[in-house]
Assembly symmetry: D5
Homo-oligomer: 96 residues x 10
Amino acid sequence: MLFQVDMVVNIPDSLPKEQADEIKAREKLYSQKLQHEGKWRHIWRVAGKYENISIFDVKDNTELHEILTGLPLYPYMTMTIRPLCRHPSSIRDNDK
Amino acid sequence: MLFQVDMVVNIPDSLPKEQADEIKAREKLYSQKLQHEGKWRHIWRVAGKYENISIFDVKDNTELHEILTGLPLYPYMTMTIRPLCRHPSSIRDNDK
Amino acid sequence: MLFQVDMVVNIPDSLPKEQADEIKAREKLYSQKLQHEGKWRHIWRVAGKYENISIFDVKDNTELHEILTGLPLYPYMTMTIRPLCRHPSSIRDNDK
Amino acid sequence: MLFQVDMVVNIPDSLPKEQADEIKAREKLYSQKLQHEGKWRHIWRVAGKYENISIFDVKDNTELHEILTGLPLYPYMTMTIRPLCRHPSSIRDNDK
Amino acid sequence: MLFQVDMVVNIPDSLPKEQADEIKAREKLYSQKLQHEGKWRHIWRVAGKYENISIFDVKDNTELHEILTGLPLYPYMTMTIRPLCRHPSSIRDNDK
Amino acid sequence: MLFQVDMVVNIPDSLPKEQADEIKAREKLYSQKLQHEGKWRHIWRVAGKYENISIFDVKDNTELHEILTGLPLYPYMTMTIRPLCRHPSSIRDNDK
Amino acid sequence: MLFQVDMVVNIPDSLPKEQADEIKAREKLYSQKLQHEGKWRHIWRVAGKYENISIFDVKDNTELHEILTGLPLYPYMTMTIRPLCRHPSSIRDNDK
Amino acid sequence: MLFQVDMVVNIPDSLPKEQADEIKAREKLYSQKLQHEGKWRHIWRVAGKYENISIFDVKDNTELHEILTGLPLYPYMTMTIRPLCRHPSSIRDNDK
Amino acid sequence: MLFQVDMVVNIPDSLPKEQADEIKAREKLYSQKLQHEGKWRHIWRVAGKYENISIFDVKDNTELHEILTGLPLYPYMTMTIRPLCRHPSSIRDNDK
Amino acid sequence: MLFQVDMVVNIPDSLPKEQADEIKAREKLYSQKLQHEGKWRHIWRVAGKYENISIFDVKDNTELHEILTGLPLYPYMTMTIRPLCRHPSSIRDNDK
């Protein structure tokens, strides 16, 4: 089951740079592990922004909640979440 | 070069049903042709809405403009367009 | 899997009253059938408004989409949809 | 008498973690006590958010005010409150 | 139990003037009857606008809903409704 | 001459509690003095909020400005001000 | 007593041109009469818009209401009204 | 050439009172000098707000920019700027 | 003196196609004449939209007003206008 | 390929003045280098604001992203980005 999630990152000035870098490194590992598992289908950078647009494939709302709230950068993100379903014009079998 | 486009469709009551159906049929053909050519990468339905979220892969802004304004349903759509680029955490080679 | 849906109804003046009444009668039947099946868990009227707040229990986004777009009043509704999950403080076993 | 309340929680970074945890523990007890008394009818987590959607059953606006302002997390919450009433299509006797 | 209701009136050009006048006359009678009964406590015109701000004293949300949806001008109104309670600084015994 | 004023109070965490309490005590005295003088006609608490809705009866805009900016809590308030006048349907002689 | 009023004019296509011209001619007379009386202090066109910004000098909210609702173009205007008072830095005696 | 400028002042708590008072004193001198020169045509206080509405008469956009960014309170202001021109109904020769 | 103007075009369905085409042809001539005169410095299409972003070089607000309200498509446009001035980092002598 | 970028600068009070000045000096050099290379086509100051409107000419979204995120003032900017293409009425050959 697919969801589009838009994540805007806003790291406060008060967070020390080393701590921010450590969180970002964990974020990257976390994201890539979920991408390898097929749960984080796509991730794109919005040009000119510290913001990404992602597609998740999860079994239900609870799994989506656990994945998102587990993000190392979660406390610094503002999220917009939209449930998706297959489009009748789609020709891609797995874009359901 | 990738763009995310969100299309909200709003067909007025005054458009006769046969005419609307004919436009929708042309829209589907138009969309699928561009999907087969690889220019319309993804299309998903937003659950509960007459709205889709799409990813386009075009060579420049002008090609995007021509594709979008050529949509049979274009006069009845409200669009939000966002330029995308590769995310440094992405593991998918073609999500550039 | 639960979703909260807020539905604002706006029937245009141009729709003849008998036709509106017939649609509303079908809407009621459709809603009550889904309530009996357990898929439309709750429906409340927002005081002073032609608007309801509902809780749906569906197996996935696609089923939600089919239920909502099948509503007889769907063409006259503006919807806000939010995916829900169990709250860690909830004491009700079935509010998952 | 029913009210829907949407609560968005935003705990500032400046609040020490132990203090935040202690407030959250009191919040949970407070919520569950009111749920057992039947005044806090439902509570759901909004997927991906530190936010809940709740249904309260109170005898009047004053009782609602006292319950909400008594929440241990109240100073860190942004609330949206909507008065509800029975929907004519509802089949649940107690969803009044 | 008190509610503040803000009513913005927007009568479409397409409604014949006689019909509009007849509805406004019924609106005035309806409002004054409820004022005499003590249920419509206050009504003020917002200066320069076809809009009023009113205070209702009802026994519950359902009575408020019935009063508001019974307004002859209801189909042409946009309403904002806010539940009120006694302010701790108030010196007026009946502004509860 | 009447004005409706909506006051949302937002006291920052950085203000020491004793100082906040002292300001609130002065606010209450200030409000009740103006209520006794008939200039602050009504004050209601918005249910669930640290916010009030008030009706002022002043001789002109300048008097309104002086009363509002003189509020001890003024630096912590966001205000919405609307000029009112008598409603043609009102039956209360002094709601002018 | 001064008020700033911003008036955005939006004349619908369905109004015949002669009728619109006749209303605009009456609007101009109405405005100039009030300017000569000193009640409509200033009127400026917002560059590039069918919109004006005006300053009114009236004895109370009721007079403002009567002047504004008496405008021939009133049914086609959206208004924003702000009560003004003398600025402590002003050097103009009559900008009170 | 006229511009309307709306200035909302928001001085942070962290600015020491003496420093704020000194800035306000310079602001007043600056404003009155420009009023005497005829460049700052009008300034009104918005009732109940720390906000003014002003009319400037400058020779071009650059002069407007220099005047506004030269305001001692500029770092604490949020501005809305609108270019004005003579209204065809105006009877005041210098309201051009 | 420079202004940025954003023009969103929205031609209603009710306008006959030949009439719309005739207006657009006049619009093009009007625009190109002003471009040749140097008053309409730049015009770009916003990708995917019936909208343009333009830079005008005019002698004052009044000339801007006359140019914009003289556009054949003016009745179908929504405009956003921003006064510009030379940027201190600009290296282009005529971008003043 | 052209993009319009609107940049609003908001430097926090907590940044020491020398540090802010050093960043602004680097920003100017960075901007002028890109202007000389032809990638930063235009930059204008919005009158009365710490904000600019710029036109970039880049080969793709990725180059735009790199240029913008490389701005020394980037952490203090809020950006709005719009893809542009040639307008059919444009007479300037290089405004493509």
